[in-house]
């Protein structure tokens, strides 16, 4: 094997260092010597053939020098062959100008599985997958190596037994002194293992992020659950302390207030737990709806009435027809609407108005809840329906970031959709669209 040493100065410098124990320096190649490599060559036994041949004063010495030079050159070539042949980690081989394998080394045999006798003379395209061959990749790489001097490629290659390996390959065009293409040098490394490790690492990192998200969620959930637990406990203790203090009695009005609070907080606790169960149902693909014929107008009226009690400082404005019948799970849709009303009251202007509209638009029954709050920052809009996403007032954390996520799943289980609109004049408008069949409604 010969290196395409076209640069005379490099050759003479090589010559000047003939006989040295080692050599390092730049070697250039390619059609116009446009690529270069800084090389280190141990145990260099090159000899300056040119100078030996042109020493005129002693013919005997000249012949001796030439013989020695030829021997040294042969030894050097043998060593170089050995070097290339015995490298195991890289497939290093030559491809002729027609794209056929011309030489083979141990690394190539180890990586690709062919013995030299099986592959030399066959097209190098043999190493590519049928898809790559069909797409003309082998020829395209040769063309680029010819035109650009070298080309790098990463991709799947086929071993002799048909198995695939992930190759990192460099293809270099080899030109003679006249600039004619002599063939190509191909150096390939099997990166399958590295690729597998990288994939494993990525999977591990993804798992760590998932665990981190879960931990954060658990911390938020625990925080959320602690508030009603604290309320229940404090109210019950207050009542007990008062009874003890008064010698076994307590003002009935105070008892009523305490019990009402305890009921309220227990209900809230139950709702939070229900939400957590919804999350695990969704993640297990087990969230179900039980549709029946329901009057959405009635559902709106009832749910808004409940919200009005929970948010006494807000006013709720409802625009809805007398009746609007759809197929749906009344309890689940009430959960969706209650959540939207809750968000509108929570994130809307304090003491502001929450607008509720129910109407048929095309083949959809649309239920919209509008607040007049700050809206949602543009950067956060895409995450609005993500699980664990918290509203914009992050420091006043309230809720577990599950409401909209669960609501969307419920609406989609009805064959409907839930989306957010951000009107120009401010606030947020959440819209539920449920399938609506006008024929069915006429029969109702």
């Amino acid at each position: 094997m010969r290196l395409p040493l076209r640069d005379v100065s490099v050759r003479s410098r090589l010559g000047a260092r003939a006989g040295a124990a080692s050599w390092s320096g730049p070697i250039r190649g390619g059609a116009d010597a446009e690529w270069s490599r800084f090389c280190y060559c141990p145990a260099l036994t090159l000899i300056d053939v040119t100078r030996g041949a042109t020493t005129p004063d002693d013919p005997r010495r000249e012949t001796g020098a030439l013989n020695r030079a030829h021997t040294a050159l042969r030894e050097s070539e043998e060593l170089f062959h050995l070097l290339v042949e015995r490298v195991q980690d890289y497939a290093i081989f030559l491809i002729d100008a027609d794209g056929r394998v011309a030489t083979w080394n141990l690394g190539a045999e180890r990586i690709k599985g062919y013995a030299a006798s099986e592959i030399v003379g066959r097209p190098y395209a043999t190493f590519f997958t049928p898809e790559d061959r069909e797409a003309g990749k082998p020829d395209r790489l040769l063309r680029r190596a010819r035109q650009e001097g070298r080309v790098e490629d990463e991709g799947w290659r086929v071993r002799s037994d048909g198995s695939l390996f992930w190759a990192d390959a460099v293809l270099t065009g080899l030109f003679d002194d006249e600039g004619r293409l002599r063939g190509y040098a191909k150096v390939t490394r099997d990166m399958t293992e590295r690729r597998r490790l990288e994939a494993e690492l990525a999977a591990r990192q993804a798992a760590e992020i998932a665990v981190q998200l879960r931990d954060e969620f658990l911390s938020v959930a625990a925080h959320e659950l602690k508030t009603p637990v604290t309320g229940v406990r404090a109210m019950a203790e207050l009542a007990l302390r008062r009874i003890t203090r008064a010698g076994g009695t307590m003002d009935p009005e105070q008892v009523r207030v305490a019990l009402e609070r305890i009921v309220g907080q227990s209900t809230r606790l139950g709702r939070l737990i229900e939400r957590l169960l919804d999350l695990s149902r969704i993640q297990a693909g087990q969230l179900q709806v039980e549709p029946g014929r329901i009057d959405l107008a009635r559902l709106v009226e009832d749910t808004v009435a409940t919200a009005a009690v929970a948010w006494p400082e807000h006013s709720f404005e409802v625009h809805a027809p007398e009746a609007l019948w759809v197929e749906g799970d009344a309890l689940r849709l009430e959960q969706v609407l209650a959540n939207l009303l809750d968000n509108a009251a929570k994130y809307g202007a304090p003491g502001g108005t929450v607008g509720v509209e129910l109407a048929v638009v095309g083949d959809e029954a649309r239920l919209a809840v509008r607040d007049r709050g700050e809206g949602v920052p543009e950067a956060e809009r895409t995450r609005l329906f993500d699980p664990f996403f918290q509203g914009h007032n992050a420091s006043h954390q309230s809720g577990m970031g599950l409401g909209l996520y669960v609501s969307k799943q419920i609406v989609e289980l009805h064959g409907g959709r839930l989306w957010a609109e951000f009107p120009e004049d401010g606030g947020t408008r959440m819209v539920v669209g449920l399938p609506y069949a006008s024929v069915g409604s006429a029969a109702a």
């Binding site: 625990a222 602690k226 508030t227 637990v229 404090a234 203790e237 207050l238 302390r241 008062r242």
Partner: protein
């Protein structure tokens, strides 16, 4: 007779707030309350208390904002006790350089004991 020690409860959860107010009043403290940080700050400056029980996650102005603003007000300032979920209470208290913390969920006895610990000795009880 010494004037009762004054406690300001800043807590957005109605039930917890009412229970704390009722219990501390029963114990003879003069208690005022606020459900958000801004109102809490107004109460704290208009009628300076001896101790503030401060929830951290509050609407309008949160506990951190409250602490920042409150530290700018004129002396003498009240002791501040952070009231928050157990996992966060101690950390939040450090963050705002509070005098103490009370972890949720708490027993009312604990709340009373904490308040007594931070009320200056020369401020007597009202009963």
């Amino acid at each position: 007779m010494t004037a009762p020690a004054r406690v300001l409860v800043v807590e957005d959860d109605t039930t917890i707030r009412e229970a704390l107010v009722g219990c501390l009043e029963d114990e003879g403290f003069a208690v005022t309350a606020a459900s958000d940080g801004r109102t809490g700050l107004e109460r704290a400056t208009a009628d300076p208390p001896d101790l503030i029980l401060l929830d951290m996650r509050l609407p309008v102005l949160d506990g951190w904002g409250f602490a920042r603003e409150y530290h700018k007000t004129a002396e003498p300032r009240a002791r501040v006790v952070v009231v928050s979920a157990a996992t966060d209470a101690a950390r939040y208290a450090r963050e705002i350089a509070a005098d103490g913390w009370l972890a949720k969920p708490f027993a009312l006895d604990q709340a009373v004991a904490t308040v007594r610990r931070f009320i200056p000795a020369d401020t007597g009880r009202g009963d």
